[in-house]
Symmetry: C2
DNA sequence: TCACTTTTCTAGACTTTGTCTAACGGTATA
DNA sequence: TATACCGTTAGACAAAGTCTAGAAAAGTGA
């Protein structure tokens, strides 16, 4: 399913030229639904895959993927951004003791009566974060 | 209402020794419900008030106030933390074009069916952020 | 194939937010 | 007065992320 050719198709269908660095990064990200930091992705590319990519390319690529809607940035930790390979609507637990981000099971939370955006603005996304700590 | 003596009472009743730096920072923060970054507070202390405070003291004090529940940290902008002087439960719009954080009017949004926290953890807070951009 | 253009990648300098350390200052206490 | 305690400070430091300028790849047309 997430083999090289499918990844290439996925990138092309989003209008992204499938360079080898982009393919490597995509293979790591899209292997499963997960939350990774830029540093984790950089390490994985340079350990798990045969090729390598620079820090600048990691950030450029993640920014490109986010702009094209292939990943979602999750901002919950003041020290780093998480990149979420699951772009369908869902919400998060963030454990401030461990720094681990996990998904809230679908249907376990309900948000409604969504507010209208202020004059001159439009909504681009809804985020719900339940902060937790070890008990 | 937010004169010097009330501020001192407020700090004391939270178990905080009212030093002159802490009083200055509290006066700026608690003047009204608002969202300020550490840098904005540093600038205000050193411009608006007669005294001055160092960067280290600003961060120490904001950390102390947050621990005591006098301010709430809001993490929505990957580049800086906002300190919210309104600690009652409410949610936020974050405009990614302007970087401005505003409150969602009370009752304009409704969250229910809150999920149980995973085994071994307890919830410490709920955050709802509606990201918006200029239209 | 060749000449040329455009896109992507890279090392490393740089910026910014936030943390840490070690010295210093003020106040209370004996 | 001695000394202990707490808070403040300057500035070094750490870490995430951005930027720049050049090199490498890839595309284009003849
Ligand atoms: Mn930060
Ligand atoms: Mn950052
Ligand atoms: Zn997720
Ligand atoms: Zn607020």
């Amino acid at each position: 399913m997430s083999n090289r050719d499918d990844i290439i198709k996925k990138l092309k269908s989003s209008g992204i030229s499938p360079t080898s660095q982009r393919i490597d990064i995509a293979q790591i990200l899209f292997a499963k639904p997960q939350h990774l930091s830029a540093e984790q992705i950089l390490n994985k590319v340079n350990e798990e895959s045969n090729s390598k990519a620079s820090k600048a390319t990691i950030y450029n690529t993640l920014g490109l993927f986010a702009k094209k809607g292939l990943v979602k940035e999750v901002i919950v930790d003041p020290s780093k951004v998480f990149y979420d390979s699951n772009v369908s609507r869902h919400f998060h637990f963030f454990n401030t003791d461990t720094g681990i981000l996990t998904d809230i099971p679908d249907g376990a939370i309900n948000v409604d009566h969504l507010p209208e955006s202020p004059e001159g603005t439009v909504s681009t996304g809804l985020e719900v974060i339940v902060r937790i700590k070890n008990s």
